[in-house]
Amino acid sequence: MALSLQFPVSTPRQASLEISKLTPGYIASSFSLQSPSTSSLHSLGTSSSIAMAVKKSSRRWRAAKTVAMAAAANEVSNRKVLIVNTNSGGHAVIGFWLAKDLVAAGHEVTVMTVGEESSDKMKKPPFSRFSELRDLGVSTVWGDPKDVGAAVGGKSFHAVLDNNGKDLDAVKPVVDWAKSQGVEQFLFISSAGIYKTSDEPPHLEGDPVKADAGHVGVEDYISKLAFKFCSSFRPQYMTGSGNNKDCEEWFFDRIVRDKPVPIPSPGIRVTNIAHVSDLSSMITLAIGKPSASNATIFNAVSDHAVTFDGLVRLCARAAAKEAKIVHYDAKALGIDAKKAFPFRNMHFYAEPRAAKEKLGWTSSINLSEALKERYEEYIKIGRDKKDIKFEIDDTILSKVG
């Protein structure tokens, strides 16, 4: 690939560094660069930040005075945080990473997983790795959202995050309990799936949502309950270690076995795949800055769109293999794209503008890097050797001819 002109920043710029968590082998940062001549970074003296040399990469040169100021200091520290976590599905991994980030940021964390500790669901990641949380001092409990008090043994919390429910039936008991306990800050993991489709991407916070969506009902209920602070986070798709639901694995399964990758036409449809660490850093910032994050909706997504075809290419690059894309017209062939393909068969693209503007959040890992990391783990756990049936693929390929 021909190399191109990179744009160096030639003027000294104001900067501040905040590293909101420190976990071995993993650094996330929200920062902008100080003077290029010194290229040194200084700590901000928040209870959680540490000065570190960070390898400069061109993607991270998005310095801005306003961002620096927003990221400058947490408002609160040492919060007692309860995460009510789902026991399955794409969002399960959020609680796992968030717990670690919150501990690194100096908060005290309890994770209440819905259901029973003895259930079969707990044998899958991230639950199978909860000892990692306990080693960090996180309290892991199990229980029923209808009786959070019993599960947490009468503990009190500054902040409660519901990462479990999709509708008011599931979340109302948690919200009501939190309100009755005088919890200051209530946070809810909603979904970017509630945005109405539009000719004008991306989905932005404040854009119209589907009034009958369960998550919308929850967001409305929470906002009317007059918590001191509340926020809602709308994720799309996530990748990351400990994920409970396949994401990029669907692509690796085919690429690594030299199978064609069937993509519903047109392959230029875009989606948004975030690394879960970008979500956990965002929520951690919101908990550390309750005023800044109050009464705000945050798209909990990466700051890049990727096309379906592009995702195949990026996965292939991560696997250092060639990939063959086969496009098919799902409708014309009578294929149910929901079963045949892991992502919504439409443009589905939100951007994390509120997080950047209000929290000084920045993305720390781009999709290329994330996929390389994920591929290494894919191989490490031996999934490339797993015997997988590709029945729907075979149907598609036979119809396409």
Binding site: A2, R62, D199, P201, H304
Partner: protein
């Protein structure tokens, strides 16, 4: 007024002060040389600069009248502008001639709206050794095509792109040591647009014709109103934050090709258009363009400009297209006459008949 009231108001006023430096009407008057300024972007930008009290000289060949009244200004506003703005006639491709015309005029700032190649820019910088800032209209077309979008200013650029000259110019500016700022617009639209973006759609909507869209129509692009672009150009003036910086300038939201057709219809009060999708590979259009936009995703992030310059686009897409319609096409003016020849080729091949209005 109570003492507490005064304090409260003062505090509020202090809080309202932007922490971002902007260069607007607070900037001391500058002597500005604008390369271009008579066709589109410069028409709006020069007016803003003159209004802000700067001395603006347009350098053009004189093929287009130096000033023309535009639909959105009053006679008095036009009189004021046309009496104040200055002009140097010349050909910027005649480097020596140009240099002699612009040297020793005491220009402090150059706005280069129509420069294409680095060789055109170097003589200007050489002719004005005391130049305080060179502000260049580049293009987001310089970005290397990517599977990850939007394009941010730090992203890879394409040395093979059609806009290579813009890229070379940015590199030249960097190397010359003069403070410089480069603006990269995406698709610009607005009244007086000479690139047939909205005009292309308006012609078809007015004629009641179906709108042929290449492939799925889900290609995502970005339109930016020329007045928002002009505003951004003003904000980088004499603004040290902007020295050595490149900024993407366009609309706050992106839009699909099909979405542009629908937005243009709304803007002009036309009914929802019929869209006809075709595969361009099935046709040989010769030298003619069957669609005004490149057949790919093409959009940028404008967050850097928002953060650095305190700028944000004032026009949403439908609002902006309505502005363009009301002040240009809707008044019966356009740059290129309607040419439906490629449309007819497409419709014929697809077996679609066009109802001819009585």
């Amino acid at each position: 007024m109570q003492a507490t009231d005064r304090t409260r108001l003062r505090t509020q006023a202090v809080r309202r002060v932007s922490i971002v430096t902007t260069a607007s009407s607070d900037t001391p008057a500058k002597k500005i040389l604008m390369m271009g300024g008579t066709r589109f972007i410069g028409v709006y930008l020069a007016r803003l600069l003159v209004k802000a009290g700067h001395e603006v000289t347009l350098f053009t060949r004189g093929k287009t009248p130096v000033t023309q009244k535009i639909a959105s200004e009053t006679d008095q506003e036009y009189a004021e502008y046309s009496s104040k703005v200055k002009h140097i006639q010349g050909d910027r491709q005649d480097f020596d001639g140009m240099k002699s015309k612009i040297a020793s005029a005491g220009f402090e700032i150059v706005y280069d709206i129509n420069g294409r190649e680095a060789v055109e820019v170097e003589p200007i910088i050489d002719a004005i050794p005391s130049l305080k800032q060179y502000i260049y209209c580049s293009s987001a077309g310089v970005y290397l095509k990517s599977d990850l979008l939007p394009h941010f200013e730090v992203d890879a650029t394409d040395p093979k792109s059609r806009h290579k000259g813009k890229l070379d110019t940015e590199a030249l500016l960097q190397s010359k040591g003069v403070p410089w700022t480069s603006i990269r617009p995406v698709y610009i639209y607005g009244p007086l647009n000479y690139n047939p973006v909205e005009e292309w759609f308006f012609h078809r909507l007015k004629a009641g014709r179906p709108i042929p869209i290449p492939n799925s129509g889900l290609q995502i692009t970005q339109l930016g109103h020329v007045k928002d672009l002009a505003d951004a150009f003003v904000r980088v003036l004499d603004n040290p934050t902007a020295f050595g910086q490149v900024y993407n300038i366009s609309g706050a939201k992106y839009v699909t090709f099909a979405g542009i057709a629908r937005a243009c219809a709304k803007a002009g009060g036309f009914p929802t258009p019929e869209l006809v999708h075709y595969n361009p590979k099935d046709f040989d259009f010769g030298k003619k363009k069957s669609f005004p936009l490149r057949d790919q995703h093409f959009f940028t992030s404008i967050e850097k400009a928002k953060n650095d310059l305190g700028w944000s686009p004032k026009y949403g897409l439908v609002d902006g297209l309505t502005d363009s319609y009301n002040l240009d096409f809707g008044l019966g003016t356009f740059r290129k006459a309607a040419d439906f020849s490629t449309d007819d080729m497409i419709l014929e091949k697809l077996g679609i008949k066009v109802a001819v209005p009585a």
